[in-house]
Subunit: 189 residues, 2 copies
Amino acid sequence: MKPETRKEEIIRVAAKLFKEKGFSAVTMRDLATAMGIKAASLYNHINSKQEILKEIIISLAEDFTESIKIIYNSKNNSLEKLSNIIELHVSLTTKNTYHMASLNNDWMHLEDQLEYYLKLRKDYESYFLKILNEGMDASEIKNVNPQIIMFTMLSTLRSLYLWIPKKEDLNIDELANNLSVVLIQGINK
Amino acid sequence: MKPETRKEEIIRVAAKLFKEKGFSAVTMRDLATAMGIKAASLYNHINSKQEILKEIIISLAEDFTESIKIIYNSKNNSLEKLSNIIELHVSLTTKNTYHMASLNNDWMHLEDQLEYYLKLRKDYESYFLKILNEGMDASEIKNVNPQIIMFTMLSTLRSLYLWIPKKEDLNIDELANNLSVVLIQGINK
DNA sequence: TCCTTAAACTAACACTTGTTAGTTTGTGTT
DNA sequence: AACACAAACTAACAAGTGTTAGTTTAAGGA
C-alpha cells in the first residue's frame, strides 16, 4: 500500500465534508480548516474546487459501470447476478462511504464532466435492465415492471452510504445477505 | 380552493430550484429571476432564505409523522399498515414532488428548526419500527432485522420524488400497487 | 381626487466566495 | 554551507452573497 499523498488526503477530507453539508455549502476555507492549513495552501495540491469534486465522483462512477458490465457478462444466472450487484454496492460503499454521498447528491455540480458522468450512469442502468429482462425471459424473475424493480433496488443500494457508517456492529457480509433476502426473494417467482 | 398567495408561489418556485441544484447552490437572485422580479422584491413576501426552507420542509415532515401515527393506531394488520405507508409516500410525493427533494437533501441547512425536524424524523421511524416488530410478533412478517427492512423500504420511498415526475405515463395507483408487490411480498412469510 | 396598499423597483451594505501572486519555512541532499 | 523542493504562509483580487432602506408604480375604494 502506497502512503496517501497530500492531494489524496485533501480529497478524502473534502468528501467527508461534502457528505455532511453538500458540495456547494462547503467552502475552501472550511476544507482548509479541516486540514489544519490556510485556504490558499490547498492550491499547492489541487487546481480547483471543481477538480476535487471530479476526483471524488468520476473514478467511483467508472468502477460501478465497469463492474456491472463484468457481472452482466458472467455465466451466473440472473438472480445470482442481482446478488452480485448487491455485493458490489455494499463493497464499494464500505470502501468509499463519503464519496458515495457526492456521487448521489453532488453530481449535478460537475461541469466539464457532467455529460460523461451521465453517460456512465445511463450505461450502468442499461446493464441492470438487461439483467432483469433476461431474468424474466428465463422465468427466474417475477413479471413486474422492470423499471420499478430497478428503482426499488437502486434506491436502496444508493442509500447505503447513509446507513453503513451507523452500523459498525453489523457485519458487512451479513448486511449483503440480509439485503439479498429482502430485495431478491421478493421478486423471485 | 384558495388562490395561491405570492408567498406560496415563491416557495413553490424555490422548491423546484432547490430540487435541481440544492438549497445552498440556489441564490436569491436565481429565485428572483425565476419569478421574473428582482432579488430585493422577494423580501416583500418572505423574511429570509432560511424561512423558505423551513416552509418547504417542516409542514411536510409534520404530515408524515402525523399520518404514520394514524396508520399505526388503525385496526389494520401489519401488512396492511405497510401498504398504507407506501400509499402515504406515493400520495405525499405526488402532491409535493419538489418539496420532497429538500426534505431529503437540504434538511441539514435548517438552523432554528433542525432539532425539531430531527425529532419528527425520529418519531416517524419509531412508529415504523413498532409496526414491523408487532408484525413479527404476530408472524405476519419475516424474521429479518427490522432496521434493514425499514432501511430498504424507506430508501425506496424517500427516492420516489426522483422517479415520479418521469413516469407521467404510469398510473399512480399502479405504482403503489407494484411497489407493494416488490417491497412487501418479499418480507411476507 | 385623495389615500391606501401590494408589489415592484434602485442602490447599496457588509461579508463571503474561489482563486492568484509572491514569499517564507523547514527538511533532506549534495 | 548551499541548494532544491514540498508545503505552508500573508495579502489581496474581483465577483457574488443575503439582506436592508428608501422609493416608485399601479390599482381600488373612500
